[in-house]
């Protein structure tokens, strides 16, 4: 690139030309245009003429801010521009620098000298440019180098410069905490000034500083208090209130003094922003002051009544801050809150939803949820899910603390999952399982709900609900003994549309089906002893039906394969339910449900159904499914031998086979009926690590051994031979036949296999062995905590309006909820302040502590004249103080509550007298005295500050709030 010629300089395009040019481009040609301009700029910026260079830089800055064109390459040119003697070049250069420089810009150190020069410039605007720039890009080095210059500017005669210098101090402190030693005094002095822009700037700085480390600024409370009372500037007042919000929790006595002036502002001011800040201050920090809270609530009410959505939103927001401690505020406004639920603004709707949930209690929860669920049905998908989410999270708080009637809650969960837009499957899943494990009494209802969910084929189509269905399937399998009709469940679990489920959930379905099968067979064996006579009848009947089963069954063997695995027969794939019908007969299902007994026939049908559905799956591409299918088929093979030849068996070796089959079933059943309970998150930690187990050893050695073995990702592992499934079945059945003599090992290993693989719902095996150690068994009255006994006879509210009116309840007692021991949550790690803040606050402590050293001593001065009584008291207090300080002297920790308190108790009397006088306003003398005392106070403070400057071994003093505040 040639260096720019005179022509370039003369005909350079200005910023306006570029802006117009960009504007006239189509969006397609815009980027071409811009890249051409950039090329131009690259040429122009090399010009030796600063005018040309700065114009180029200006254009680049514009493109960077609007079109995000990289400009880091031009940083050196920007530095050249700020060193120009011409103001306009400087201005452009500084704008470019503050926009594009960061800590990592390599040339940033080069600007240090130029900024210093400009800070010392006689032109106030050049100074202000440099200050602005420093406030944006100041690095540690820059701040260190320039701190003294900024300090000088803080006492500039020009307000314009002074306030900017004060603004820069914020950056200075943040990057270079040592600057505090230089600037802090000046900063505090500026607080006392009367120039409102200065005060505003200082208060802004303190507002930011106190947000990070409020404790350090506690000693300045009197100054802030004075501003709070005296200032007429709303901007300043808002900032001061923000500071007090931070300080109030640290110094309980502050609140008493602050409440009055804040309420005053709240009543008098017309500025909504100030009113809101007052409200927020009161509701966050002064919650114990009833009258202030009442006033705040009234103001909030005014906000809510306005048409302005901003005020409405903020009003609701303020109420939600109050809600935890002052529920009455929510209840008072519940009409607005409920109305806002249908506001057009999603923000407002969310706020009001939070409030509605905050109002929910044991007594009105049912009604609230009913209203909300109905409302969710009508609202848009996003908000619908917000509603469902907040219901779920409210209800599960503290282990379902608010729920009394679990049957109701479980059916609510079922209802929620049927809402078309529901995307909360995962949360509902967790709660279904959690409740199942924790609340024994609700299990029958839970199974009923789960059954309804499983039977509904429509739910299978919603991918958000799949997790929920897996929970339902698990519940049905685990608590099948509560089911009224296991066969129906089985059909639901094996329905053809389950092919829509992801494989991980499908495996849960299969496992649950297996559990149900075991349960049915087991109960069949139990009752069979009584009905041997019936068997022969049934057997003959069964034989005809079975032959038809077999006929259809064979044709359908592969019919239910997913993904069109065997397209030839896919046309028949959904016919198998008819098989069930022919087998069962229309009437048989209801009858045995009524009798609660299982016929031989229906067992056989179950076996057939399972075999029919699962045998195609034994060739599934998914290893998990395949594994499970094969296991179950193997089991069916084993049991079926017994059922298939009833006549022969009966005559010949009935006893032997019967015993084997029933023993297998017995074992498996025993395993499945093992109760599962909730597990503490820390349970694993409590298991001692065996000595010989080395957990941290490097396992790379295994690499050599296992190197050749590739572990397939789920789904990628495939055994694709279409015949594999059948052969697997056969081989398994052969094995089975051979190992008939040792069925126990086979079946238990099957089970352990299942457990191992299906970890989702299994607990670690130790759990099963010693469950009682880690969680209290359900219904164990001694260990379970039922906090709600007292409320049992309180009721749900019947009122539409969510009033917490309490009606005597017919309701059943709240069932026992198993809870793990408290404190299972990980201990909260207290956040440590960052190192830098430490430095900063440390530096500030030093200054302010020194400060207070004088404050304490000077404190006695003003009281000298006023009355000898006071004087005596003050002296006494000082003595006390110094004594205590000696004691504490070793540790310069400023927080010694006892010393502070004792002092303040003494001061308090003085104060209350004074404030009384002030309030009555009757004594001019009083006022005058106060005034003069204030002045003296300040005076004294200055002195002490100066004194503190000297690195004398001042006794570290507890920073305290001088007496006139407290």
């Amino acid at each position: 690139m040639a260096s720019p010629s005179l022509m370039d300089t003369l005909f350079q395009r200005g910023l306006d030309d570029i802006i117009k040019g960009v504007r006239h481009q189509q969006s397609s040609t815009e980027s071409i245009f811009i890249s051409r301009v950039i090329e131009e700029i690259r040429r122009e910026i090399k010009s030796t003429d600063l005018q040309t260079k700065s114009t180029a830089l200006q254009k680049l800055t514009y493109l960077n801010s609007i079109h995000f064109i990289d400009m880091s390459w031009a940083s050196f040119h920007a530095i050249e521009c700020i060193s120009s003697p011409t103001f306009s070049h400087k201005k452009i250069g500084y704008l470019a620098i503050s926009q594009s420089f960061s800590e990592s810009t390599p040339v940033i150190l080069l600007i240090s000298n130029q900024i210093r020069k400009d800070l010392k410039s006689g032109n106030e605007f050049e100074v202000s440019l440099a200050l602005d720039c420093l406030s944006r890009i100041g690095t540690v080095d820059l701040c260190r180098d320039l701190a003294s210059e900024v300090f000088i500017l803080m006492s500039s005669s020009k307000v314009f410069i002074r306030k900017k210098a004060i603004g820069v101090v914020l950056r200075l402190f943040e990057k270079y905490p040592d600057a505090v030693r230089v600037c802090f005094k000046k900063l505090v002095e500026s607080l006392e000034g009367s120039d409102s822009p200065i005060v505003s700037a200082v208060v802004g700085v303190f507002c930011e500083l106190s947000a990070k480390d409020p404790r350090s600024y506690l000693p300045l409370a009197p100054e802030f208090y004075r501003i709070l009372v005296d200032s007429k500037n709303n901007w300043v007042l808002i900032k001061v209130l923000k500071i007090f919000v931070k300080l109030a929790p640290l110094e309980p006595r502050l609140a008493k003094r602050l409440v009055e002036p804040i309420c005053d502002h709240m009543r008098k001011t017309g500025a909504k922003s100030l009113v809101f800040e007052c409200i927020r201050t009161v509701v966050t920090s002064f919650t114990e002051y009833e009258s202030a809270m009442k006033l705040a609530a009234a103001k909030i009410r005014e906000f809510l009544m306005e048409d302005d959505p901003n005020l409405k939103y903020l009003g609701l927001h303020a109420i939600s801050i109050m809600a935890p401690k002052h529920l009455w505020a929510v209840l008072e406004n519940k009409d607005v809150v409920i109305q806002s639920l249908s506001d057009e603004d999603p923000n407002i709707k969310l706020e009001s939803l939070r409030l509605v949930m905050a109002m929910a209690s044991e007594s009105n929860l049912m009604e609230t949820c009913r209203v909300l669920v109905n409302y969710a049905l009508k609202s848009d998908p996003d908000f619908c899910n917000e509603i469902l989410g907040s219901i779920l999270s409210t209800c599960c708080q503290n282990v379902y603390e608010v729920i009394i009637d679990f049957d109701w809650y479980v059916s609510l969960l079922g209802e929620m999952s049927r809402i078309p837009n529901c995307k909360k499957g995962e949360e509902i899943e967790n709660q279904l399982i959690d409740i199942g494990m924790r609340v024994k009494d609700v299990r029958p209802e839970l199974v009923r709900i789960a059954r309804d969910l499983l039977i509904d084929p429509a739910l299978l189509g919603n991918p958000f609900l799949h997790r929920l269905l897996s929970a339902a399937a698990w519940v049905c399998g685990e608590y099948v003994e509560f089911s009224r009709n296991p066969v129906e469940l089985m059909e639901a679990l094996l329905q053809p549309r389950t092919s829509l489920l992801p494989s991980s959930i499908r495996t849960v379905y299969m496992q649950s089906a297996f559990k149900i099968l075991i349960f049915c067979i087991h109960s069949y064996f139990l009752q069979k002893e009584d009905m041997t006579s019936e068997v022969s009848d049934l057997a003959s009947k069964r034989q005809c039906s079975e032959s038809s089963d077999l006929a259809t069954g064979k044709a359908l063997v592969q019919s239910d394969q997913d993904e069109g695995f065997n397209p030839r027969e896919s046309n028949q794939s959904y016919e198998y339910p008819s098989v069930v019908d022919t087998g069962d007969g229309q009437s048989s299902t209801p009858t045995f449900m009524e009798k609660k007994s299982l016929m031989h026939e229906s067992i056989v049908n179950l076996l057939n159904l399972m075999e029919l559905v699962l045998s195609p799956l034994s060739g599934s591409l998914d290893v998990e499914i395949q594994e499970r299918a094969c296991n179950v088929l193997g089991f069916i093979e084993l049991v079926q031998q017994e059922f298939s030849n009833p006549l022969i068996r009966k005559e010949a070796n009935l006893d032997r086979e019967e015993v084997i089959a029933s023993r297998v079933v017995e074992w498996v059943h025993d395993v499945f009926t093992e109760e599962l309970g909730p597990v503490s998150v820390t349970a694993q930690d409590r298991v001692p690590i065996p000595d010989e187990l080395v957990l941290k050893e490097n396992l790379t050695d295994l690499e050599a051994i296992c190197g050749g073995v590739e572990l397939p990702a789920p789904g990628s592992f495939s055994l694709t031979s279409p015949y594999y499934g059948e052969s697997a079945v056969f081989s398994v059945s052969n094995l089975q036949a051979e190992e008939d003599s040792e069925p126990s090992t086979e079946s238990t290993s099957l089970l352990t296999e299942h457990r191992k693989r299906h970890e989702l719902y299994y607990l670690p095996s130790e759990k099963n062995i010693i469950p009682a150690n880690d969680y209290p068994p359900a219904n164990d009255p001694s260990s379970s905590i039922n906090t709600n006994d007292a409320t049992e006879d309180l009721v749900k509210l019947a009122d539409q309006s969510l009033v917490s009116k309490r009606k005597p309840n017919h309701a059943k007692p709240r069932p026992v909820v198993v809870k793990l021991e408290e404190g299972e949550a990980a201990p909260v790690v207290s956040k440590k302040p960052e190192l830098k803040d430490d430095l900063l606050s440390g530096a500030i402590h030093d200054i302010l502590l020194g400060n207070e050293a004088k404050a304490a001593s000077s404190q006695s001065n003003p009281s000298d004249k006023s009355s000898s009584k006071r004087k005596g008291k003050a002296k006494h207090v000082d003595l006390l103080d110094s004594k205590e300080n000696l004691a504490v002297g070793e540790q310069p920790n400023h927080e010694n509550p006892s010393s502070r308190r004792s002092k303040h108790r003494g001061d308090g009397k003085q104060k209350s007298k004074k404030s009384k006088g002030k309030k009555n306003g009757d004594g001019r003398e009083d006022d005058g005295e106060k005034e003069s005392q204030k002045i003296r106070d300040h005076h004294g403070r200055h002195k002490s500050r100066q004194r503190a400057d000297a690195p004398i071994n001042v006794v570290p003093q507890t920073p305290d709030i001088p007496d006139y505040l407290l």
Partner: protein
């Protein structure tokens, strides 16, 4: 503290950006992209606050321009709205005096003005209004006076630079 100031046109074009916290170039364009998606789609009668990624964003539409400020959680939304209004009035006053058009018209056409005139003035006005993310000057008059003073400095420099003698001295260098 104010984290950033954005001006976005109704069509989603960015008109001005200013960042008071360190954001990388990538973060900047991401913030703008996502935020304009959120804000521009909001209806006229909704409240002016958006919760977005842990930030609060206060925005207000004037004519065809959206003024957005990202603030901290504990900042006062209404106050920020007032700052925005303040800023708009300052611009209005400034552009009104510069182009001698009726102020109200200027506000309506702010979008245009930003594109054609005195683009940088909007930045400098902001610099006079805020420093380090804090309001530093609450008097409109003062801000206007300061900008005008700086403008005259710039003008003087420009005149000098474009004078014939200067061009000749450049050429003969």
């Amino acid at each position: 503290m104010i984290q950033f100031v954005l001006l976005i046109s109704r069509q989603g074009k960015v008109r001005l950006t200013k960042w008071y916290s360190p954001y990388t170039q990538k973060e900047r364009s991401k913030v703008i992209r996502e935020l304009s998606g959120v804000i521009l789609t909001r209806g006229p009668k909704l409240c002016n606050f958006v919760e977005w990624r842990g930030h609060k964003v206060v925005y207000k539409r004037y004519a065809s321009l959206y003024f957005c400020m990202g603030i901290d959680q504990e900042d006062n939304e209404l106050e920020v709205l007032e700052i925005i209004h303040h800023y708009v009035e300052i611009l209005d006053r400034y552009f009104g005096s510069v182009s001698e058009l009726r102020p109200w018209f200027i506000v309506c056409e702010l979008d245009l003005i930003f594109n054609f005139h005195k683009y940088n003035a909007a930045y400098y006005a902001l610099d006079e209004l805020l420093i380090a993310g804090e309001l530093q000057e609450s008097s409109k008059k003062t801000v206007a006076r300061l900008i005008a003073a700086q403008d005259s400095l710039v003008e003087a420099a420009k005149e000098q630079a474009s004078s014939l003698s200067n061009i000749i001295s450049q050429a003969t260098k």
